[in-house]
Subunit: 486 residues, 4 copies
């Protein structure tokens, strides 16, 4: 496998030379697109900014100025890529934009989207996406046989090749045919000089919403991006839908009839921003509800205080405390200043008590029976560390309440999951996990409890995808067939 | 007045995005010192890191290796100043370290502490401090008359000059005499090849604590720094005390008999970290208590939800909700990715609805009577913006609960206060402020309520300093005599 | 046409100031390849470094470690892209490497070579090249019709597509067929896990040499790179030749029978380094000889001193002075510290006498009849400025001697020429140019004089290409047919 | 000894963290000052730029705008410190400016000049200087006894303290008295809101010139800075002279009667720019003359070619070739792209033939008897390397001609000399040096020959200082008394 290292660009002083290993499965990432506004680049900047939590490894946009598509991009946070001079120079009335979450420790500058293709015979094409395909490998093999050359493993490049091969009369026909050949969880934004295209996968695994700001149309991964740019929410893009936005307005088509909702549960549990709504459900509220459900499903007698694992467990902890009638307190502090350039303490110093990242508020937990709430446990490393911190500081008992079911199976739709062996819930019972965490007890919300908290029915082809909890994947898993999961 | 601009190399593109809270009123530096540990620089790094909230404009340390004192320093966050290679090269068994909060828009590299003086005839002297003096100007005038030259306006340089002039037989005698000549709120750390010295002002306005880690002694502005480096808390340094730490252990002396506690109230309200204890009182708990007191002093009939101004109002909001029996919710989200390089939206875009920094969770506040809790109001700009955001998103009523009294008077002891005219509570009643904020009501905690919440009696020479609320300053104000405050 | 701007991280403060000559006409990239050495990346770094004069806009290399090809690259000078840590981590026994001269004001990170293609079904392929093709557009059109997608306008990407389409049994057969379909002036280096391939165009327009260092083979654009890495020169690669280097040694093939030497004259005149030899001819010597020929062809009676336009005119000036028996002096000083971040003086300051870049040694030229020698005149801007400087400082007469003929026609083979309208010799006689320069006279070397100086016969298909002087292009100009040149 | 390491400012990505050891003796450096021009900062930038060869370790200036003095400074090259935005914001009508040459590998940010002192009771004072004092240590000892504190070892800080202590009625009287107490080779620029002061040492060891540009006065280390900013040369400042420039014009005073010219010979030989004149003598011409003298003093029979050690030996080589009637050729090429971030080849690679910095033009030297001319030999390392390079490339004989006498003694006046033991001419004869260099012969110009070439008589108190060649120092060496030199 070829790998790539890109010197931090422009850098005699590469802040951090980034080692780039191109991701094999794709990632959550965030998308923003706008058509019909004089300050398209500026609004894309603020839209992307509100989606920064979906990816911090790179940012880019393609802006349309008349017939010309111009790309800008760079590694790191949005604020590291763009400065005010650049932004001021990016004139245009439409744009598609992307923040990258790169899997693995390695990050490639060629993975930074959008991609921009330009053709001698026709106009340019910009593409970006989030999510992951399950038949990427099969499709690439076939295309290479026909003479295609790939420079990345990016699904956006793959889609461009399929479109190019489709050769139907209109671009929209070629695009629909291409979309019908890819399987997985995804959202795509495409732009030519003529139109902006937004597509969501046939199961609606990845979210995508549509809004309006004056005469301009906006598409984005989450509603918080609409709020940020002052746009009004119209509706979520439907599973299997292709929306076409041009100067005449908006058109909706479906590229497949095999469609049905199986929205990713982890978007509610962990990924999306609390102030976003997905399919009409507020994310913070769904989390708080999960805490309430947990308090009912798994009460702990004698518990004196409820604390959250900051920041992801806060909503559920508030719900739990409220429902259980136990005071909610700030018992753990997360240090905000730990960034990329923080120097982690040596193993030796850590052993000898040097702490990083989390601190305990001693007076809150000392001598008490503590409920610690978190959204999920994946590897379990942090949770184990937190339990130890609490006990070392004098907590009498630590009871863990997890606002999602046991995370047992890999996600093939864009959530960056470690290998099954690294999942703490892989082949372990709750009791075994509790012991491993050195906790006094652990409780996970039930699948039905979680579905109730969110308020969306769950089953494979309607409602929620909970494949990572139960292994029931809502699509065929072409490239991964025969992989033993259970 | 001469000013200084230092070419910030690479400053156009700070690698490290800051997720830090933006200060409402400003912090006043942090101190860390250690004597007798093989990894003095490493521990100072982690100690400073836990004090980063006290200053983000510069960081530095002087490390003692044998008889040699070596200084390192730089502008910006600790993680911007030090990299692992530098840190690894900083050998030594003792250190004093500093994080800078720089006042004014201009930030000078010469203001970054510690200062290091070296003499042809004797050993080197390192000094750093936090806080502010009230007779700085008078002393400098006198020293200049005698031929002294100043390169900065830094109090550490001033103290060095006074020590140098004292010419008593021992360094400790000269230092004590020098300390007895300065007035204000301060903590000083000094180091020579022979010892580390820690001094706290005669009113104990600025905090300073002492701890132990094995055979090593640690001094720091807050107990959270002791916890971070795995040190055990011994006690707070006393007002007017000078502690001398050398290879024979620790000695305590007093440099003045005119002493008495008047601890800065704002340390509890806003500055210190929630997991720190000051004079035995936990900061988070004092804030939560303030919320409880507020709920009792100022109930609001019909309020449906309690939300906090993130992050500073959270502890008090939890207390308020608990005492009032109203649900605590996350109604406002603060964007973590706004740092130095964020491009603020143009006035035009802001007017047209582009939001930055804060977002509202619509489903939490829409149609509701909302209690919004914050720790304090200084200029009032942010609060006014938040009320507008909430009302625009559909809040029916917004009632403000402020966990400190009206902030009316400048601080001369190290809190960077705007000029009286910029203080929203300057010559305004609570009712007028409420109107200005466009809120439905506003309540401030009473002075006695705050003292109860903290659990420390307050009066000028014993307990708490509340001069910023009531204008009763616990020291003479030499350089500021005759300034009209009320 | 889509363009791309890449956020140059840290670009506001390039650490490395450039002392580099500013190009008058521009260079066209440099190539270095090595096979069979344990320190392939290190040697490539030094090899590239000696070719830095051929391109300062980017650098990259692909290193082969076992079967894995790894790419590193970045914008700017080699020393800005690589640091010692990166270099130390680049293990491998073979490499191809490239320094980029980017045309246009816009510099794209995607233009930085080598390109690296990886295929699901076979091994990876790395490609880099210099020079330019004359049928690039035609080929791309055809390939796009067949479904190919291009992400750059880079000829290396084009060649990859043609190879991929060739589908002959062996890679070498596909490569030879692909090379036989492209026309222009070029050198290509390719590498797979099995071999390194080096190809030179059928007219030998661009130089490429072969050397040996112990058991390792080295290919490079110029012999100075062989000297730098301690390799011994074997021979120049022949026009139309494809050299294949693998663990069994070296093989030579020809991919076309239509071949014949037409070596680019500008390589001798301006581009190559003085210590390089091309086809056995030393570059400095050819330039000095040109000065000698000029002195014979165009003597100036009464001239008192010979000075050079630094640095490009120095070799010829020495030759002129020697042949004419007139003292050679340093009359013009070029400032070495003018780099990317130099702030050019305002128009206003320049008018009022603020000088940059060049200074005159007054005592050398004051009151004298001066011979000023330069290698070539393209736009004439610098020369006009130098004549003014000399006259302003008191030179009595300034006679220009140019060591190349009148530069009248664009180059299609890789020299970045301005548009004909910007060429000072376009539709202007020498007399008109002299007047425009405000010189007392101007002389250009004759074509035959230049050929004599170099010692290579010149005609279209044998010897030298002088198309930029006489418009006789040694290849068909497919994409440019019908463009009026004269 | 305290040392200091300053993180490259603004740097999460310190390009190179600079280790700073404060210099004990001072350095050549470059000075520029201007009074009475609306664009004082801009002109200072260009003036400093032309003096960049005198120091590349830091740059700074203090600009006077009305009564306010503002300082800017930073490490590295001028172009690294200033960007166009900064420069545009630096309004003012007078300025003093400095480029720093820092001795040793260690560089301190506190050493970057000018220093700026500000006093409560009077105006601010800016000072910068070049050169070195011989009684610095003695003076500091005395001042410390009186209570002064030093933050640097910089002579500018020392002078400020002496002025401050002088307490005479006028500033000029205090300044003159202070200047009369320091001994050494120096030039000082000082500025207050009222005037600019320029002083040269009593022996005129360091150069300083005066010019005029319209109504504005300019002072600078070399005349090239006058030329660059379009100023007209008036005269050299005289030894022992203090020039005072204010809005009323210029005044000249002498601060000592013990004065007499002993101009530093190395300024002509190596330091100054070829286009500068010192005391009316052109630097390039003095170097070329030295070559001519050398050719007469030390002819070599049978030599076939004269080459220079680039760039410092070029002027002398041209003179030698002209006088000896032997062709001057470019035989050695110096790589222009070796900067701070260049990765030096490992010892292993160097041994195995990897070259850096210099390349040989083989056809020029192969089989020939070569004359290699350089300006001076200090350590001899480079020269030895060059001889080896030439011989390895096939030179039959290499004869060294050095345009200065044997460099045997340390300089106490500002030239950064290695310790005597590192001087190749320390206790070695020319014959021994030739052997050490592995040359076929070596010749040094005689002292009288050099004086003739420059055209200034040399003896201790009149003419040239040649102390580094003959050990006859033109001043008392207070701090260095008793040090054995010979």
């Amino acid at each position: 496998m070829p790998t790539e290292i890109v010197a931090a660009e422009g850098g005699g002083s590469p802040c951090e030379a980034r080692c780039a290993n191109e991701a094999k499965i794709n990632h959550e990432c965030g998308l923003f697109g706008i058509w019909g506004h004089e300050e398209a680049a500026q609004l894309s900047y603020y839209g992307l900014h509100s989606l920064q939590h979906r990816g911090q490894d790179g940012a880019g946009m393609v802006v349309k100025n008349g017939d010309v598509l111009t790309r800008t991009k760079g590694p790191g946070l949005l604020t590291e890529v763009y400065n005010s001079k650049m932004l001021a120079e990016m004139k245009g009335t439409a744009a598609i934009a992307h923040v990258l979450y790169a899997t693995g420790g390695m990050k490639s500058s060629t993975a930074i989207q959008p991609l921009l293709f330009h053709f001698e015979q026709s106009s340019s094409l910009a593409i970006c996406h989030n999510g992951a395909l399950v038949n990427s490998k099969s499709l690439r093999n076939k295309l290479e046989e026909y003479g295609s050359i790939f420079q990345t493993t990016c699904s956006s490049e793959l889609l461009a090749h399929i479109i190019k091969r489709s050769r139907l009369v209109t671009f929209v026909d070629s695009l629909k045919r291409a979309l019908s050949q890819i399987y997985g969880g995804f959202a795509f934004l495409l732009m030519t000089k003529n139109a902006l295209y937004a597509a969501r996968d046939p199961r609606g695994l990845r979210p995508l919403v549509l809004g309006k700001r004056g005469d301009a149309y906006v598409v984005a991964s989450e509603t918080c991006a609409l709020d940020t740019v002052g746009a009004t929410y119209i509706r979520d893009v439907a599973p299997g839908e292709l929306i076409i936005i041009d100067d005449n307005g908006i058109k909706s088509e479906f590229y497949t009839s095999d469609k049905g909702m199986a929205l990713c549960g982890m978007e509610f549990i962990y990924i999306a921003r609390p102030d976003s709504n997905i399919e009409g459900v507020n994310v913070h509220t769904s989390r708080k509800n999960a805490g309430i459900v947990l308090a009912k499903e798994s009460p702990t007698a004698g518990a004196e205080v409820v604390i959250a694992s900051p920041d992801t467990g806060i909503s559920a902890a508030i719900g739990y405390a409220e429902a259980a009638g136990i005071p909610y307190e700030i018992g753990l502090i997360k240090n905000r200043y730990i960034g990329r350039t923080f120097i982690a303490p040596s193993q030796n110093l850590r052993k000898r008590g040097v702490k990083m990242k989390h601190s305990v508020v001693r007076s809150i937990v000392e001598g008490k029976s503590v409920i610690l709430v978190d959204d999920s446990i994946v590897r379990g490393t942090t949770m184990r560390h937190l339990v130890k911190l609490l006990k070392d500081t004098g907590a009498r008992e630590v009871h863990l309440k997890i606002a999602s079911p046991l995370y047992k199976y890999p996600c093939y739709y864009g959530i960056d999951t470690p290998s099954p062996k690294e999942l703490v819930a892989h082949k372990r019972s709750a009791r075994e996990i509790s012991k491993l965490m050195d906790a006094d007890s652990i409780s996970f919300i039930s699948e039905s409890g979680l579905a109730d908290a969110i308020g969306i029915t769950h089953n494979n082809t309607h409602g929620l995808c909970m494949a990572c909890f139960n292994g029931d994947y809502p699509t065929h898993l072409q490239d991964f067939a025969g992989i033993e999961l259970k």
